[in-house]
């Protein structure tokens, strides 16, 4: 599935991923391929993006933390929308 992370100051990430874990207001949850369409509000926490060969642009690289096959983005709040295997994360 495809993920786009956008913030008011620009796009942070765009690419193919395998799964994403987001801090929903009612608890953390994970979305995999072919997840049902969803809109959710996120609270402060870490967004974990899982996949192979994840590429982050150099100028925003310091916003992420890196682990094996996983990149982590701390956010204050956000909104996530997923439909047709396209995830859009509005982060603040």
């Amino acid at each position: 599935m495809k993920l786009d992370i956008v913030t008011p100051e620009g796009a942070l990430f765009s690419g193919e991923i395998e799964a994403i874990v987001v801090p929903g207001v009612n608890g953390t949850f994970e979305m995999l391929n072919n997840h049902a369409p969803i809109v959710a509000i996120l609270t402060e926490g870490n967004v974990r993006i899982k996949g192979q060969n994840l590429v982050v642009a150099d100028e925003v690289a310091n916003k992420f933390k890196y682990e094996q096959n996983e990149i982590i983005l701390p956010i204050h709040s956000g909104t996530v929308e997923m439909k047709n295997n396209q995830v859009i994360l509005l982060a603040e």
Binding site: V6, T7, P8, G10, V25, P37, V39, A40
Partner: protein
Amino acid sequence: MANLKDIRTRIQSVGSTMQITNAMKMVSAAKLKKAQDAIEKMRPYAEKLTELLAGLSANLDKDLGGDYAAQREVKKVLLVPITSNRGLCGALNTNIIKLTSSLIENKYKDKDVELLTIGKKAYDQLSKKYKVVDNKSELFDDLTYENVAKIAQKIMNDFIDKKYDEVILIYNRFKNAATQIVITEQFLPIKTESDEISKVALDFIYEPSQAEIVLELIPKSLRTQFYKAIRDAWASEHGARMTSMHKATDNAKDMKDELTLQYNKARQAVITGEILEIVSGAEALKN
């Protein structure tokens, strides 16, 4: 006719002014590019947010907007004029200050008006005559979304606490480098637009409920709106400065050309005078 040395000094001084204005023009052009890029960059976020909000409110029939849409009898008004910190940018700041004054004296004559100025120029001019509660000029030194959001949030809280019944932004909208449009924009209460949006066909899971999501999204979209206004003002400043510095450079060039012509004429006159003297001296010797 002015003497040669005077003209030469003037040519030199006009020349160095020209260099300065030209350098300022270059600097503004570079900054303008950055400012425009920043506006471009926030567009996807703003558009997606609007799309989500529109989709959600279309699905919900009742009027939404929560506390931010509360229409109260307008008694206390907060005006937020946004200007630049520095001058030399043409009529940009004057327009904002003029409009703010005219709003206070005409439209909001009988209301209790307070000001929150952003930009030193607005503060310097308006604080003499009107009640300025706060000044956030230092914002332009570190223009990040986070800093802007803090100010926006404070204003929103004040509105919720009924400190103000209406909040108006006054700023220059960036059209292109030569044109900036002075805008008065109602920030709060939110104007709920009743245009028909087709209901979203997809069956979404909502977490939490739709109504709660909308309530969460509205402050976000307000903060984004505020950020956009500041970004627009920032780009306008550099656009206006670039244009006015370009004009100044052109004017200096005209002036320099004119002075050079004058200088050459004066020089010619001096030479003619000298030749005349020599010739008449030689003639006198002959006789």
